[in-house]
């Protein structure tokens, strides 16, 4: 990420260097017994923290408007704190006001700019949240995201499902689940290679999260099983959605109609996430045997 910000870094270095040159030129060094070490410690720490902010911004944010605000705000803070630290070692002549202005003015301006940047960041986060809908419900924990499909896994689903069950039951609303299973995915991996399997999974997860509503949540329950949580949805509605999904999913299969997907829907009546997920496994097993029966020539 920092490679995007080379010019910014160069500019900051030049700015700090010019500050240093200015200070050295206009003042003369203090004797070592005049140093106030407590002040040096306090101001040094502040400076280090501000530099740490700059580093974090550079290393984690892509270039853009919000980044510029955040960056230049913090840079002004760094500049101000830097001069502040320098004056512990350098004494300026009484008549020169420039240095004390340079010390105290950039900090508040920098704070204002930084605040403006934070407001922008807040807006941006809201936009990202909108973008994430269908992949995330009330909880966020980036360690639980599956890096391949960018969906949450089983632990996340258990936590969210428990909360949703309690909410829905207290409000007497219907909650449904869609369970999607890839038949014999290990076989698919074996025939087409692991890379093809991984590509298929990520395409499938893209399609799933784009085809469901914003309020729904898709999770990767196991290697080859996905579960979608449909809040506020009764079984008939879930069946319609499942039908719609089946049509969409048929696009994904290749020429040999591989791999075969099984999709089942269920209404959650259980009182715990554990029981509901067990029920989901049973429903899936039933759907698979039913599918096997219909495929046999009669």
């Amino acid at each position: 990420m920092w490679r995007q910000h080379r010019y910014k870094m160069l500019f900051s270095l030049l700015l700090l260097l010019s500050g240093l040159l200015l200070a050295v030129n206009s003042g003369n060094a203090k004797l070592s017994n005049e140093f106030d070490w407590l002040d040096v410690l306090g101001e040094g720490t502040t400076l280090l923290v501000a530099i740490g902010w700059l580093g974090l911004i550079i290393s984690s944010r892509p270039a853009g408007r919000v980044t510029e605000w955040l960056y230049y705000g913090s840079l002004l803070l760094v500049y101000s704190y830097f001069l502040d630290l320098l004056d512990e070692f350098i004494r300026y002549p009484e008549h020169l006001r420039l240095m004390s202005w340079l010390e105290s003015l950039p900090a508040p301006v920098g704070m204002l700019i930084l605040t403006y940047g934070l407001v922008g960041w807040h807006r941006e986060q809201r936009a990202i949240n909108r973008q994430l809908r269908g992949r995330e419900l009330f909880l966020r924990d980036h360690q639980l995201i599956d890096p391949l499909t960018q969906l949450y896994g089983i632990e996340y689903l258990q936590a969210v499902l428990q909360r949703e069950i309690e909410l829905h039951q207290s409000q007497h609303k219907a909650l449904s689940l869609l369970v999607l299973d890839i038949d014999n995915f290990a076989g698919f991996n074996r025939r087409h290679g692991m890379a093809a399997g991984d590509t298929y999974l990520s395409r499938l997860s893209e399609l799933l999260s784009s085809q469901l509503r914003h309020s729904d949540l898709v999770c990767r329950y196991a290697g080859d099983r996905f579960i979608a949580l449909l809040p506020n949805t009764a079984l008939p509605q879930a069946q319609i959605m499942a039908q719609h999904l089946r049509q969409q999913l048929s696009q994904l299969a290749d020429a040999q109609h591989e791999p075969v997907l099984t999709l089942a829907e269920m209404a959650v009546q259980q009182h715990s996430a554990q029981a509901a997920l067990q029920q989901a496994a049973t429903v899936m097993a039933q759907a698979k045997t039913a599918g096997a029966v219909t495929l046999q020539p009669s």
Partner: protein, 343 residues
């Protein structure tokens, strides 16, 4: 002695036997190649050389890097099945064409130095099952659980592919369950238990002789020939801790001291000590481990008195044995036996 052990400097692993699969899996999950390779001594341009090699410590560093960069609990399972189905590993190809599980596992065990030789196996029979107990053959540090999962995923994948069922197979793991539901899902329809005394996989007798789906003697022999040819470039050698345990185990009830073992392995006593410490272990704890396993096995087999056990394990008297046994299991031998008879 033909069975050599490998030192710290020896490059005993082929890049094509695992590393390329692992790297591909991690890269598809968003990891960056140069970060994965950092600190490993593997060069990017070597990755596609057919006989490129690496140290076993490089492999451990590589695993560490992968786990840092890719937060994916399914990684070891995928690696196991990728290894099993890799076209570059003739050993794994040969497993698929074996006559039955017995032949496949014998083949895997004989040529195990061609994959990552991090576990060795002790076999015993228990009721209607044959149990494979996995012992770490070298210092794996904190990668042991990962490698064990890779191995189990490979074995279970083989059984599932070739026999179509996992019924009756059960897996006991020493580690505590981090997320049992997830592990259960990933292993798929297997009897799984945690916090056990040993890492072991028990397979019903019926499965051992059942014919494999793709059994093919000609293909098997061809693949085995390739494995033998590979033995010329990749000589059969074991990790040092494994060799030490093997020697000590054979010598029981006599106890070998460090000099004797070092002499048998063609090392000086101090370099044995140094090399063991590179595997994060030492001579005394290996000796202790050998005796612990032997004691467990003897108790499982028959009804020995403490005195007999102490003699068989080279303890000077039964009190010392009792004390050691209490340290290993937290139980005195008699209650351990009781535990066994009731089951």
């Amino acid at each position: 002695m033909s069975r050599r052990h490998f030192g710290y400097q020896d490059k005993v692993l082929l890049l094509q036997h695992g590393s390329t699969e692992l790297l591909a899996l991690a890269q598809r999950r968003g990891a960056v190649l140069h970060k994965l390779l950092s600190g490993t001594g593997i060069f990017e341009q070597d990755l596609h050389k057919p006989l490129g090699r690496l140290h076993h410590t490089d492999w451990l560093t590589l695993l560490q890097n992968c786990r840092q960069q890719v937060q994916s609990p399914e990684l070891p399972y995928l690696l196991g099945s990728a290894l099993l189905n890799s076209r570059y590993i003739s050993l794994c190809q040969s497993l698929q064409y074996a006559k039955n599980l017995r032949q496949a596992l014998a083949q895997l065990y004989y040529f195990r130095h061609q994959l990552f030789p991090c576990f060795y196996i002790r076999l015993y029979q228990q009721q209607h099952c044959i149990v494979l107990e996995f012992k770490p053959a070298l210092g794996l540090a904190n990668q042991q659980a990962f490698m064990l999962t890779v191995l189990c995923s490979l074995l279970l994948g083989l059984i599932k592919q070739q026999l179509g069922t996992l019924s009756g197979v059960s897996l006991q793991l020493q580690q505590s369950a981090e997320s049992p539901a997830l592990q259960q899902q990933l292993f798929g329809g297997l009897n799984l238990s945690f916090n056990q005394v040993a890492n072991s996989l028990s397979i019903p007798l019926a499965l051992w002789q059942q014919e494999f789906n793709h059994a093919n003697a000609a293909e098997f022999n061809a693949a085995r020939r390739t494995c033998r040819q590979l033995n010329h470039v990749l000589p059969k050698q074991r990790a040092l801790p494994e060799s030490v345990c093997r020697l000590q185990r054979r010598a029981l009830p006599q106890l070998l001291n460090q000099e004797q073992i070092a002499a048998a392995l063609g090392l000086s006593s101090s370099s044995l000590k140094r090399q063991l410490s590179q595997h994060q272990t030492n001579f005394a704890s290996l000796l202790d481990e050998v005796r612990r396993d032997a004691a467990r096995q003897l108790l499982r087999q028959g009804n020995y008195s403490n005195r007999q056990l102490a003699l068989k394990l080279g303890y000077s008297d039964e009190h010392n044995f009792r004390r050691a046994f209490k340290r290993w299991t937290g139980l005195i031998p008699s209650s351990f036996k009781g535990l066994f008879n009731f089951n």
